[in-house]
């Protein structure tokens, strides 16, 4: 067994110890995870972004245009200094403006129009009829300009039924996901660490 496996197994057991009750071993493993994650993110960001996109172009290739995003990025850190914090708003304005400009048309096309088209497609199959019914009744639940009575009330109630189905399916999948994480760790402990299973 290599040292990495041993450390991983011990840290897994530290985390599992929380199932009995909160304790210093659990806290140590938790803080270690947070610290390493942040440290790793900083190192990777510097290695893959700051160095090849800012340092090398400016100092090796003399591309001074790259200083503009570098300066705007630096402005973001000025939020920590109240007197200069206003400068960070310039960077934020650019991020929000460009971000919204790029994402709004794309999201409209991919998530609204394409989904509407799919919901209004061929109704030859029972599945498509159910999808269309679910879309209409769920939307009717979120129509608040009229009291939910009569036909609108019935439609909204059916919409609630479909939403409950969605929440139930999502919760089921969430349970499945969490159990899988436990299985993964159990496979590691029983296999790589203890060698009981192959």
């Amino acid at each position: 067994m290599d040292l990495g496996t041993l450390i991983a197994a011990i840290l897994t057991l530290f985390i599992f110890s929380f199932l009995y009750k909160d304790n210093p071993f659990y806290k140590f493993a938790e803080y270690l995870l947070v610290g390493i994650s942040v440290g790793y993110f900083i190192v990777i960001s510097i290695k893959t972004t700051v160095v090849p996109k800012l340092i090398f172009p400016v100092f090796r290739e003399g591309d001074l245009l790259c200083l503009i995003p570098g300066i705007l990025g630096f402005f973001m850190f000025l939020r920590f200094f109240p007197k200069l914090a206003w400068l960070s708003r310039i960077s934020m304005a650019l991020i929000i403006g460009a971000g919204a400009g790029v994402s709004i048309p794309a999201m409209m096309q991919a998530q609204i129009f394409a989904q509407m088209k799919a919901s209004m497609g061929s109704y030859a199959s029972i599945n498509n009829i159910i999808v269309a019914l679910a879309v209409i009744t769920t939307l009717s639940y979120f129509f608040f300009s009229r009291e939910h009575k009569g036909a609108l009330g019935t439609s909204a109630k059916i919409g609630v039924f479909f939403m409950m189905l969605f929440f139930g399916a999502t919760f089921g999948y969430t349970v499945m996901s969490r159990v899988t994480l436990l299985i993964g760790r159990a496979q590691f402990l029983l296999g790589d660490f203890l060698g009981i299973i192959k």
Binding site: S37, S45, A106, A114, M176, V179, G184, L190, I196, I197
Partner: protein
């Protein structure tokens, strides 16, 4: 915190549930039960699409996950990489999440080694790029501008696999192995704008978010969680981590269903007593 009515308090120590869950998971892992597992159409679709690619096809696999979900995404990544390498497809690995970089590289290298694949010719790993939207959009314009170098510092213009890749036109399929919502960005930008085929291999918790896009045809294939990995392994006829874990998954689900039923019976009996 809201105070529960007395009749809703069932005095079962939660640690008993943890022990039962541990038994439900460990027992099937040690003593294989071989419970049946049926392959779903969405997994078959992706498998069929992968089979239709030939040995000149380039697949872009984006490892969009973090360490905390690695036990769930690892069987998915293994299954798709086994399929790629066994069919001699070319693989380009990237990561849009920093934590996915080292893990993605590990999975890619391990699977490539199993099939004796050569780095630079059969597969490459380009590493992490921040700002998901900018990266996905820029890949559609100029691949080498986004990734002038691979993860190890080599020029992508010199690598046999990447030297002729200009943009999405030279990539047959994009696969996002994910534990979060990054596939939405792939759908918004690579699929909607560049009309690129996308498949998603996601943790089960994200499954319901992606089904509408599978239904609309914006996603060509969807494989979810450990069950999806096990189904893919069945199609590959290579049982691996997914198939091994499915017995434990089924037993754990059975236990949860039993506990929910028992809890409701207890709740109902307590209320009746009142």
């Amino acid at each position: 915190m809201p105070v529960l009515p007395k009749y809703m308090k069932l005095n079962l120590d939660r640690r008993i549930i943890f022990i039962l869950m541990a038994i439900a998971v460990i027992f099937p892992l040690v003593f294989k039960l071989g419970l049946p597992n049926k392959v779903t159409p969405e997994v078959k679709n992706l498998f069929g699409q992968m089979e239709s690619l030939n040995d000149t096809s380039v697949v872009l696999i984006s490892f969009d996950f973090e360490a905390s979900s690695f036990p769930e995404v690892q069987p998915l990544a293994n299954a798709i990489l086994m399929h790629c390498f066994s069919n001699n497809l070319k693989v380009i690995g990237i990561s849009l999440l920093a934590e996915g970089t080292a893990l993605g590289e590990k999975v890619l290298k391990e699977n490539a080694a199993k099939y004796n694949k050569v780095y630079g010719k059969d597969y490459v790993f380009l590493g992490f790029r921040p700002q998901v939207t900018a990266t996905i959009l820029a890949l559609g314009e100029d691949f080498h501008k986004v990734f002038p170098e691979d993860y190890y510092g080599g020029s992508t213009a010199d690598l046999e696999l990447t030297k002729n890749i200009k943009n999405y036109k030279d990539i047959s399929l994009i696969i996002s192995v994910t534990d979060g919502d990054i596939p939405f960005s792939w759908i918004n930008y690579a699929v909607a704008r560049y009309n690129k085929d996308l498949a998603v291999l996601a943790t089960a918790v994200m499954a319901t978010s992606f089904y509408p896009f599978l239904n609309s045809g914006q996603i060509k294939g969807l494989v979810n969680g450990l069950k999806g990995a096990a189904e893919y392994e069945i199609l590959l006829k290579k049982p691996g981590m997914g198939a091994r874990g499915m017995d434990a998954q089924s037993m754990a689900h059975l236990l949860i269903v039993l506990l929910v039923i028992l809890g409701n019976i207890g709740y109902w009996m307590e209320r009746r007593k009142k």
